[in-house]
């Protein structure tokens, strides 16, 4: 891919990733966040996190399926970091608008409420990944160790989806779509690995 095209695409991805934040800021400025603005902010930031995390997890399977799209890897770090950015805003919403910065209330919530515990777990799992997202970190850790560390993203995504299910009322199926998509992406990895091995064996037999 040539440089101007890459720059254009990166700008487009940046814009798309900033869209939910822009939408929220515009809504807040014009007092237009719906009847329950606190809930709107919470839902928008949470959903953006899960969507971006899912997109970043889709890149490897898509590259394996369509080798011509190999350049997609250039966007994975950006998507991952934006996922962490929205996860942090989501956490901030809880701290400010739900717990009102009350440390005791937060401690009680984390101990008592499993959907909050698992949500915080997901954020804590993303934290070291965001911290080691620089090229310098990759060099310092070495590709193998860096890769192993960044497998935590699967666990974070699972925690995120469970967090969503535990938050909705029993019987409500809204989290189903993102769960199925993530399920397909997770299943794709062993299937693709198995396929690759089979092809390799067939070629070397």
């Amino acid at each position: 891919m040539n440089r101007p095209l890459l720059i254009a695409l990166k700008s487009a991805v940046w814009l798309a990733c900033l869209w939910p934040l822009g939408w929220l800021l515009w809504g807040a400025a014009t007092n237009n966040l719906g009847p329950d603005p606190t809930a709107t902010i919470t839902f928008a930031t949470g959903l953006a996190t899960l969507r971006l995390l899912t997109l970043s997890l889709a890149i490897t399977p898509v590259r394996r399926l369509l080798p011509r799209l190999g350049w997609l890897i250039k966007f994975r770090r950006l998507l991952g970091l934006f996922a962490f950015f929205y996860a942090t805003l989501h956490l901030g919403t809880y701290v400010a608008l739900y717990a009102g910065f009350d440390l005791n209330a937060m401690a009680a919530d984390i101990a008592k409420r499993r959907f909050i515990t698992i949500g915080l777990t997901a954020w804590l799992l993303l934290l070291p990944l965001a911290a080691t997202s620089t090229s310098w970190s990759i060099r310092k850790l070495g590709g193998k160790r860096w890769n192993r560390l960044h497998r935590l993203v699967y666990l974070a995504a699972v925690c995120g989806v469970i967090h969503y299910w535990w938050q909705v009322k029993p019987g409500v199926l809204t989290p189903l779509t993102i769960t199925v998509i993530l399920g397909v992406l997770f299943a794709a990895r062993p299937i693709q690995a198995w396929n690759q091995r089979r092809r390799f064996r067939a070629a070397t037999a």
């Binding site: 807040a28 007092n31 009847p35 329950d36 603005p37 608008l97 409420r113 029993p170 019987g171």
Partner: protein, 330 residues
């Protein structure tokens, strides 16, 4: 050439919404006061006739004005939630699980003809036509706080009369201890009901003494108008000291029973939604705190407020629960 006509009214003469509301409220107050005076005067003439006079022929559509009288049971000192928010932010899962869905989908609800079946332990099973129910008693303006179990709240000017007035007409037997309310359900009209795994129709219930309390309202309207469908048209109950889901919408049957009826959310998750479900800041929902709530329609930094025990109606209704462990009977 000028296409279309310029507006007849210059914008300088259009009353701003805020002023309009003030005028409107004053007019309504005067009308209510007048009706109350009329009511007092006509009490001797016969309540039956009075009801006819106060609400003669009531038409059917949402938005139709209802004739109402003042009620001393109305809540004061609260700013009303806007009509737009009350009618566009709804939990009515038969019409979709998102808050904005019911206002889009509930137009399909056929509110006429409509009857309410009265069944179970009664002198004689009966069926009430909605128009007869509307004329049974004078309709009262009752502003109530509304606290959802999801920790948001509104202030809603309902229109109706005490549920007890209706129950008296049903002539329940002395053995009756509970009353069950069943909501309208038709999967063809409400295909959105499949968005959740809830077992329909929606069922709610009250203990008989709760149902007979004058604050429990048989409700036909809000903001002085016939209920919009998404708010539970054409008839629902409102039990202001309980979480919102106890206030069943679009009621088609009322059953008088000697034991506690199965109710929808309690059946879905008995550890999260108790049969009583009185608003109680001291008993948390297992997944979130009930100590505070978010008032609908305010900016995000101003929404949070303290939740009151029994939603602030303790003075009137706390005695219903004397000697009961509210933590166990949540």
């Amino acid at each position: 050439m000028l296409i279309g006509k310029p507006p007849d009214i210059p914008s300088s003469e259009i009353t701003p919404r805020k002023l309009f509301d003030q005028y409107y409220n004053r007019r309504r107050f005067l009308r209510s006061a007048l009706s109350t005076a009329l009511a007092a005067g006509a009490a001797a003439v016969g309540a039956e006739r009075l009801a006819e006079a106060v609400s003669p022929r009531v038409t059917v559509q949402a938005g139709t004005k209802l004739q109402t009288i003042y009620s001393p049971l109305t809540t004061t000192g609260e700013e009303l939630t806007s009509f737009a928010d009350i009618t566009q932010y709804n939990n009515y899962y038969e019409f979709g699980v998102n808050k904005g869905d019911p206002s889009k989908n509930a137009g399909k609800l056929p509110t006429r003809p409509w009857t309410v079946r009265v069944e179970g332990k009664v002198k004689q099973p009966k069926t009430f036509d909605i128009d007869a129910l509307l004329r049974l008693r004078p309709l009262e303006d009752r502003v109530y706080r509304h606290r959802c179990v999801e920790a948001w709240s509104m202030v809603i000017p309902w229109v109706g009369y005490s549920l007890s007035e209706f129950i008296r007409q049903c002539e329940p037997l002395p053995s009756v201890k509970f009353v069950q309310f069943l909501s309208y359900y038709d999967r063809k009209v409400e295909p959105w009901s499949y968005e959740s795994t809830i077992y329909w129709p929606y069922s709610e219930g009250l203990r008989m003494d709760e149902a007979m309390h004058p604050l429990a309202l048989l409700t036909f309207g809000l903001y002085g108008e016939v209920l919009p469908n998404q708010d539970g048209a054409p008839v629902r109950i409102v039990v202001p000291w309980k979480y919102g889901f106890k206030s069943a919408k679009s009621i088609v049957a009322v059953r008088f029973l000697d034991k506690q009826p199965p109710t929808t959310w309690n059946g879905m998750a008995p550890n999260e939604y108790g049969f009583y479900s009185n608003v109680n800041p001291n008993v948390d929902h297992p997944r979130w705190s009930q100590k505070t709530e978010r008032r609908i329609g305010l900016p995000f930094y101003a929404q949070r407020r303290t939740t009151l025990i029994f939603n602030g109606y303790g003075d009137q209704i706390a005695s219903l629960y004397n000697g009961m462990d509210l933590r166990r009977n949540f």
